[in-house]
C-alpha cells in the first residue's frame, strides 16, 4: 500500500494491480479507480456477484479469488467423544444452541469431565469444544447471523449498536466466559485453525476456505483427520466471502486494454497452482455450476472428498441467500473501523466488560471511524 501511495502521488501508477481489500473503497472514493462494470460481456461467465466491489453502484474491482468462512473439525476428537459430525449443508445447519451443546460434549477438564458433569473444573480445561475466530471482519458474521450487523445492507449506516448486533458479539464471547467451551481468543491473529483442530486443542474451529490449502493439506499428510461443515447460525444462516481485489487505476491511458488484460490475468488457469492447492477458490460462475469444472478443481488429494466439498463449500459459495460479501466490498474505512472495534472489544473477551457496555460507550468513535474522520 505504501508503495502504491507513493506511485499514485507521483502519477506513476501501473495500469492495474491487486490490492488489499480494505483499500478499494478508500481509493475509489478518492477517484483513483476506473469503473470496470463492463469488463465481462453479455455471453461471458462473470465472477460471482458476491465478489464485486462497488462504489456508488459502479463495480470498481473484482476479487481475484473467492473465499468463504466455514467450520472445520477434528474427526478423531469427535470419534473419541462419540459425537455426530457437523452438518454439510445449510438445510441441516446447527443452531447456536445445538453448536454449544455439541461443543460441551467435546470439552474436557484434566479429570476428563465435561461442562455437563458435576465437579467440572473450568480452570483446568485440557481440550475445548470450539474456537470461533473473532477477528473483527470475521466476527461480523455473528452480528449479522443474530439479525444485526456492523453496517446496514447498503453500507450507509452503522448498526453495530443495535441490540441484536451486540448480542451476537456477546454470544461469541460467552463461548469462553459462560459456557467454557472455547479458549480465550482476543481477535489479534489469523491462525484459528492451526491453534485449534491442528494443535488438537479444540475439536472445531471456524476459518476461511483458504485453510484447506494453507495448512490443512499438509497437516492431513501428517495424519490429521479433519472434516468440513457449514457454520452454525443464531437467527439467520449466513457466511461471509472475500478475496483480494483486482483494480484498474484511473491514471491509465489504456483503459480498454487494461480491462482486457485483467480479465485474462484473473482466469483460473493462470492461478491454477493456488486453486489446485486449495488456497484460492475460482471466481467465475461457471466453476460453481459446471460439474466437469468442479471435478477438475476439487478432485485431488489436497481437498476433502468431492461430494462433501461440493455440498459444503461450492453450494454455499454460490448461494447468495446465505453468502454475503464482507463489508469492505461496499463500505469505506473498514480498516479504521475494524482496528477500533478490535481495541474496544479487548476487554469483552476476558469478561472485564460486556459487549453492550463496550460498544455503546464507544459508538460515536466507531461512527467517526466509519465516516473516515
Amino acid at each position: 500500500m505504501t508503495k502504491l501511495n507513493t506511485m499514485a502521488t507521483a502519477g506513476e501508477l501501473p495500469d492495474t494491480a491487486i490490492m488489499s481489500e480494505a483499500g478499494v473503497l478508500q481509493w475509489a472514493s478518492q477517484g483513483m479507480l476506473a469503473d470496470i462494470s463492463d469488463m465481462y460481456g453479455a455471453g461471458e461467465s462473470k465472477p460471482l456477484d458476491s465478489l464485486a466491489f462497488r462504489y456508488q453502484g459502479k463495480v470498481v474491482a473484482y476479487s481475484v479469488a473467492n473465499e468463504i468462512l466455514m467450520l472445520y473439525y477434528n474427526k478423531d476428537m469427535f470419534d473419541e467423544a462419540g459425537v455426530e459430525y457437523p452438518p454439510l449443508s445449510k438445510e441441516d445447519a446447527w443452531t447456536w444452541e445445538e453448536f454449544i451443546e455439541v461443543a460441551k460434549k467435546l470439552t474436557k477438564d484434566k479429570n476428563g469431565k465435561t461442562p455437563n458433569d458435576p465437579g467440572f473444573d473450568p480452570q483446568n480445561i485440557v481440550q475445548y469444544g470450539c474456537l470461533v475466530e473473532n477477528l473483527p471482519w470475521q466476527l461480523e458474521t455473528w452480528a449479522i447471523s443474530n439479525g444485526g450487523g456492523y453496517y446496514s445492507k447498503d453500507g450507509s449506516e452503522v448498526i453495530i449498536d443495535r441490540p441484536e448486533s451486540i448480542e451476537g458479539i456477546q454470544k461469541v464471547a460467552d463461548l469462553h466466559l459462560v459456557h467454557h467451551v472455547a479458549p480465550l481468543s482476543t481477535g489479534a491473529t489469523d491462525d484459528s485453525i492451526q491453534r485449534s483442530i491442528i494443535a488438537r486443542t479444540c475439536a472445531m474451529g471456524t476459518g476461511g476456505q483458504w485453510n484447506i490449502g494453507t495448512c490443512l493439506a499438509s497437516a492431513k499428510e501428517e495424519g490429521l483427520n479433519y472434516g468440513i461443515g457449514v457454520l452454525p447460525y443464531m437467527k439467520e444462516k449466513v457466511t461471509l466471502c472475500t478475496g483480494g481485489p483486482n483494480v484498474v487505476f484511473n491514471q491509465t491511458k489504456h483503459l480498454k486494454e487494461a480491462k482486457e488484460w485483467l480479465k485474462w490475468y484473473a482466469k483460473e488457469e493462470n492461478s491454477w497452482g493456488l486453486i489446485e492447492s486449495g488456497i484460492w477458490m475460482p471466481t467465475l460462475e461457471k466453476w460453481y455450476t459446471d460439474e466437469t469444472l468442479m471435478r477438475k478443481w476439487v478432485e485431488n488429494p489436497n481437498f476433502p472428498p468431492f461430494d462433501e466439498y461440493k455440498k459444503c463449500v461450492i453450494e454455499t459459495a454460490k448461494d447468495m441467500s446465505i453468502t454475503r460479501s464482507a463489508s469492505w466490498y461496499y463500505v469505506n474505512n473498514t480498516n479504521d473501523f475494524n482496528d477500533l472495534l478490535n481495541s474496544i472489544l479487548g476487554d469483552v473477551w476476558t469478561g472485564r466488560t460486556t459487549a453492550a457496555e463496550a460498544i455503546t460507550s464507544n459508538i460515536e468513535a466507531l461512527k467517526a471511524a466509519f465516516r473516515g474522520e
Binding site: 483513483m32 480465550l184 481477535g187 478490535n342 481495541s343 476476558t350
Partner: protein, 306 residues
Amino acid sequence: MNKTVRKKPRYSLMARKESITAYLCLIPAFIGLTFITYLPLAGVFGIGFFNWKGLSAPVFIGFRNYIRLFTTDPYFIDSIKVTVYFAVLAVFGSMIYSFYIAMLLNREIPARGFWRAVFYLPYILPAAAVYIGWSWLYESNFGLFNYFLSELGINKIKFLSDSLYVVPSLALIAVWTSGNLIVIFLAGLQNVSRVYYEAALIDGANAFQRFFRITVPCMTPIIFYNLLMSLITNMQVVVPALALTDGGPGNASMFMTYLMYRYAFKNNHLGYACAISFVFFVIIAIFTAILFATSKTWIFYEGDSK
C-alpha cells in the same frame, strides 16, 4: 605594543587553520545529521499540520490534527499512559535487575565468562523470536506458565490477554533482554577503586554500608547513562505490540510508536501520524530534560572539585 598587535593575527591564523580542519572533518557527520535527522524532523513537524492520506494532495488544516489527538482520538491518551507505564516498569525493573546481576558477575565465581555470556545472550537474540517465544510461555489457555500455575492449584492468569497484566508481562520481557545494561554496569564496577573498599573494611563497614556508601556513589555516572539509554529505548517500545498484542487488549498495549506506525502505514493517515510522532518527540525530550536537570543533584564524579 607592536609586538602584541603582531601576535594576535598569528594566533588567530593558526586557530583559523585548525578550525577549518575541524569543520572539514565535521562535514560528513553534519551532512548525515542534517539529511537523516534534522530535515526529516522538520518535515514531520510540517506534515503534522496537513490532512494527508497519501493519495490526494495534502490539505493544510492548522492545528486540527493536534486538537483531534487530545480530544476525540480513541487511542492517543491511553497510548501516552501505557507507554509511560511500560517505560517506568521496564526502566526500573531492568536497572535493578542488571545492577544486581552485574554485582554477581563481578564476583569471583566459577565459569564467570560463561555466565556473563548467558546473561548477555537475550540482548542479542532477534527481538521477534524472543517475543514469540515468550508468547508461548505466557499463552492464556495452554501456556507453560499457566501449566505450572494450574499444577500449583492457582487460577490461570491471562498474561497477554488481560488489560491488567499485559504491560507488566511485557515489561518483564524487556527486563530479561537488558543484557547490554549488565555489560555497562560490569565495566563500571570494575572501575570502582579497591582502595575505598579496603579502607571501609578497616573501618569495620558491613556489606550494606559498603554497597550504599561506596559502590552506588561511585557508580552514579554509569547509572545515569544507563537510565537515560534505557528510558529512551523503552519509551520507543514497539516490537511487543507488533509481534504479539496489536496494541490490545483494548488499548492496554497501544504504545505510541505502534500507534504512529498503524496510523501511518496501515491506515494511510500520514499527516496525523506525523503529529503523533512530534508529540512523542516532545514527551521524550521532556523526560530526558527532567533526568538531566535532576542529575546534578545525585551524580558523583570522582574528578569533580565539588
